[in-house]
């Protein structure tokens, strides 16, 4: 019999949200991330341990499978939902200070661009990597990022752009943010974005996939 943390980890890896969820079919009528996380907390397991030994490793497995094309966007979203169900039970401990996250990650799709899938995947992977994520949505102007930096000093910014025509706005946003907050670390991503473009516009890091963003953030946090 596996430990409860291993069970939670499996639920997140395969996207088993709760008892009622029929997915994945081979875990039907089993308890999901929701029930098991509640149980773990009721048993007195440290929420930090749930995060470090169940959520974070499970989401890392998911991210790596996605990078290798072993799973696809729908599977990622199932895992994210299961992680979200688990996180609901841990959230009160963040507020009370009993559990800690690695930092604040503010993410959004740049002005003029309405694509949200890639940005959402990064947001959920980073949250699953142990960070507090503030998702500003799509078509986000520089001023909104500035507001977030003021509210959360030391936060890290993630910018997404899916069109060559909106990449230009990514450059503008980086320029404006770096002018006022030169210390702020900025990650960028999206289909047309490249490492060269990242260097050109003076952003700190480019990742072609969500797991790369998580790995980079971990180097900052440690």
């Amino acid at each position: 019999m596996s430990t409860i943390l291993e069970q939670i980890s499996k639920c997140i890896e395969f996207g088993k949200i709760n008892l009622a969820s029929p997915y994945p079919p081979d875990m039907k009528e089993q308890e999901g991330a929701d029930e098991l996380t509640k149980k773990a907390i009721d048993e007195g397991i440290d929420p930090n341990a749930i995060l470090d030994e169940a959520l974070i490793p499970a989401m890392a497995i998911v991210g790596n499978k996605f990078s290798k094309n072993e799973i696809f966007v729908p599977q990622m979203l199932m895992s994210a939902k299961a992680m979200g169900a688990s996180m609901e039970h841990i959230r009160p401990f963040f507020q009370s200070g009993a559990a800690k996250r690695k930092g604040v990650f503010v993410v959004g799709t740049v002005a003029g661009d309405l694509h949200d899938i890639g940005k959402n995947l990064v947001a959920m992977m980073v949250e699953g990597g142990g960070w507090e994520v503030i998702d500003l949505g799509v078509d986000v102007a520089s001023a909104k990022f500035e507001e977030s930096i003021n509210q959360h000093p030391g936060c890290i910014i993630g910018l997404s752009a899916l069109l060559t025509t909106t990449m230009t706005n990514m450059g503008t946003t980086v320029k404006e943010l770096k002018a006022k907050y030169p210390e702020t670390q900025i990650l960028i991503g999206g289909a047309p974005v490249t490492t060269e473009f990242c260097e050109q516009i003076g952003a700190n890091f480019y990742s072609p996939d969500p797991q790369g963003a998580v790995n980079f953030l971990n180097t900052i946090a440690s």
């Binding site: 094309n69 696809f72 966007v73 729908p74 979203l77 003029g112 309405l114 949200d116 899938i117 959402n120 899916l162 069109l163 060559t164 025509t165 909106t166 990449m167 230009t168 990514m170 450059g171 289909a191 047309p192 490249t194 473009f197 050109q200 516009i201």
Partner: protein
């Protein structure tokens, strides 16, 4: 309903009764590093190659998007249009979020272009529709507005009506409005394509307009994209799409098949011709 587009001399008719007209999507810098490099160097050879390959594969109209960081598309779009029209006669679909680039291209373009695109946002309609009228172009109307993208087909129809009415007030005829019902990724929302198909049906039944769609969007984030794109374009044609934007190299067979199976290809002439051309 017939939307007429023109190249230098070649006329293309998009007809709600069919057959389907293919707008080739490949002149677009996203994921085409070589296009960015060659255009940055003022070299149009690769654009011409993309045009030739698409026309040979069945494209009737070519979408032209040359927007990328570090380039002034108010200069580059008209230059690309001129260069393409020296070599090719197919009508062009001018694709830019910048109304000034569109207008600059219309000034030099011969024939009658399709503009990609206007949407239901006040700002967009104010900027684009007067240009459509002034240059006698046709325009793609995206069914989103100041409230963003709705997932309610009736509301998407409402945005289409709004664009149609606003265009009508400026004297643009319904023939020159081509609606884009917004094809979105089914990987993120299992109902995404159903919403699009229902929108297509509503626009056809209530407005009777020609319709395009970005057929390759639906398969984002999934394996075997080509099969999904082909299945979706086939369903879309059944519901009322008349001029999808897609990669003709990959989608023409599915489109010719749809036309044939819907009784729009007498003696299977286009189907057989496509088979012979791609042997």
């Amino acid at each position: 309903m017939k939307t007429i587009l023109k190249g230098r001399s070649l006329e293309v008719e998009i007809n709600t009764e069919g057959p389907v007209i293919i707008i080739g999507e490949s002149i677009n810098p996203t994921r085409r590093k070589k296009l960015v490099e060659t255009l940055s160097a003022g070299n149009f050879d690769f654009v011409h190659e993309l045009a030739r390959v698409q026309i040979e594969a069945g494209a009737d109209v070519l979408d032209v998007n040359v927007g990328f960081p570090g380039v002034d598309d108010e200069l580059l779009l008209p230059e690309t249009v001129k260069s393409l029209q020296q070599e090719f006669d197919v009508p062009l679909c001018l694709d830019s979020p910048n109304p000034k680039a569109i207008e600059a291209a219309l000034k030099v373009a011969e024939g009658k272009c399709l503009i990609n695109s206007v949407n239901g946002e006040e700002k967009s309609m104010e900027a684009i529709l007067p240009i459509v009228k002034e240059y006698g172009a046709a325009v793609i109307g995206l069914v989103m507005d100041d409230n963003g993208i709705t997932h309610d087909p009736e509301k998407r129809l409402g945005v289409a009506e709004k664009i149609l009415n606003r265009a009508g007030k400026l004297g643009i005829s319904p023939e020159d409005i081509v609606i884009d019902p917004l094809a979105m990724a089914v990987s993120a929302d299992p109902n995404a394509c159903k919403v699009t198909l229902e929108t297509i049906k509503l626009v056809r039944d209530k407005l009777g307009l020609n319709m395009t769609e970005g057929s390759s969007n639906v398969s984002f984030g999934l394996p075997n994209r080509e099969i999904l794109n082909n299945a979706f374009v086939t369903l879309s044609i059944l519901y009322g799409v008349t001029c999808p934007i897609a990669n003709p190299v990959k989608i023409t067979s599915a489109i010719r098949a749809a036309d044939l199976l819907l009784g729009r290809d007498d003696y299977a002439m286009k189907w057989v011709e496509h088979f012979q051309n791609t042997q």
